[in-house]
Symmetry: C2
Amino acid sequence: MRTTIREVAREAGVSPSTVSRALSMPGLVNSVTRERVLRAAQRLGYEPNRAARGLITGKTGNLGLIVPDLANPFFPSLVKGVQARAREADYAVFLADSDEDPAAESDLVRVLAKQVDGLILCSPRGREEDILTLAATTTLVMVNRRFGRVPSVVFDNSDGIGQAVAHLAALGHKRVGWVGGPRASWSDRDRIRALRAATAAAGMDLYVAGHFPPQFEGGVAAADLIVASGVTSVIAYNDVMALGLLGRLRDRGLRVPQDISVIGIDDIQMSSMSSPTLTTVSLAKEQAGRAAVDLLLSLLERPDGVRKPRRELPTQLLVRGSTGVAPTD
Amino acid sequence: MRTTIREVAREAGVSPSTVSRALSMPGLVNSVTRERVLRAAQRLGYEPNRAARGLITGKTGNLGLIVPDLANPFFPSLVKGVQARAREADYAVFLADSDEDPAAESDLVRVLAKQVDGLILCSPRGREEDILTLAATTTLVMVNRRFGRVPSVVFDNSDGIGQAVAHLAALGHKRVGWVGGPRASWSDRDRIRALRAATAAAGMDLYVAGHFPPQFEGGVAAADLIVASGVTSVIAYNDVMALGLLGRLRDRGLRVPQDISVIGIDDIQMSSMSSPTLTTVSLAKEQAGRAAVDLLLSLLERPDGVRKPRRELPTQLLVRGSTGVAPTD
DNA sequence: CCGAAGTTTGAAACCGATTGCAGAACCCTG
DNA sequence: CAGGGTTCTGCAATCGGTTTCAAACTTCGG
């Protein structure tokens, strides 16, 4: 059986109240008493019962994290960052995977919301009204999506895509293709907007292949459209899709990067292991996880005092083997 | 503010005790009263406060899951299985990633153990004594490791590796290489034992390349040893390493499977997307997660009544593009 | 029609912490 | 040295449920 505050109190010869104060509001108790209490607690290996504390303070010491699909390598990295930062702050993390299903997601949220102090939500395409009602009842940080006044952590897609387009332009490419992710995804909209602006500014032609599932198969499916369009370079919604592209292009007998250049977004592990290695817009995924926790914790501390409840993380183009000079035809 | 049991009691015109009973021990209350209580609860959207309940029952309704490295694609699948099954049983899951660090792991365990009813531990190389002390104080299920009387879920490595060896033998291979994972890993020991037995039985020569980190780079590092050894086929500790092998072999100008056949273990997503696609021993990872939760829950219900606190999951060789007939030289 | 047994319900104790309030001890000032 | 102000500590209430216990009410056999 675990030691309770009463036992520590007896051991130290004080009342439970004093023990509680010595531990959580040290300023309020005389230093010699405090010392005695701390030693007693140490001796007995005392650790306060979180449920009991939570009952009266209304805080659980837990955070919730909801991701759409843990099988997408983007998310494990994010989770790691959240984990690490939460642990430092002495919070534990509930993880839930919604399997890309917005309905399952709202269930998860409902269940989880009651057991946590705050929630980190990666919900690229949940309904806006759901998010609003949620934000009204829970402290919430969204990742990879910006919406109204809901606190969020996003990547600077504009900059990253700008770098990618500049890179392609420098290699002499005039026509670039875009392989889109889910239609409803905020990131997809943000990215294509950035791409439109960047290609226009660079005087390049843009061919949009459409929307595809954000998986390997999505990239495979898009490849033939890309080939038919006659572009010399292509940017994909994420790395997994870019790898799908690469695979299908190879099967079709095209050489990357001699015949066509390919760029992904995310910088997942596999992108440095494919052949050719994948040029990609690198996102600081773990850092995003940490930033989300930081933001969440500061919101918990002073609900309205956070000046700017938004973080935008930098992005960086990593040039690898899948991009080269435009073919001269 | 959330509705409490008292409000439901008032609404239904009964005492809080009756509400509690109506909800958790329905047999003890008169059916018309029960009905009235249930409707009142429904109307007010009542849900019992888990912290309060946990305080008196000693149960939290939470499970803990500790994995060594979420970046290894094996684990997200496992996590998904655990998640899904836990949700069905109305448990929430704390996830922690130990970053392959046994010391961090014991910390995590200590912190988590107090907030959960039971723990699922993937700790291929934690110290045996740590595991024993843990098992003594917590309800615990280990995954991918069998040790003493600690309840566990493992894969039938023998069978899977037997299938792989039989496949290679049928293709005419006489010499097979093994690219090992971490030295201290239980799975590694189990697999090489199985491999020794299978190759001996088939009259094949076995070359063991040694131990490598269970990552892409580990496979890369092993490749040259494998080439130098003159084997015509190789089995790797896991798919990620096998993909590393594939990459390095290609860089060295060897053709897979014409010059050398490669087999992985795990069946991660990427193994069907590489080129060539990877022949692999498929493990039912999600099923393992579900099985671990099932086992854990039955242990929680009747701590000593579980006949055989072990599950062994089947494995299945998937023949894909990376294996072919042995080269004739 | 009485007492025993069985059902159903509520009062109150309890889980393990935190915290408002009040009293005790001490310090300072005039 | 009285009186006001601090500082420190303990009592008791509280959070929101569960559970023990006993009372009240039924049912049933004899």
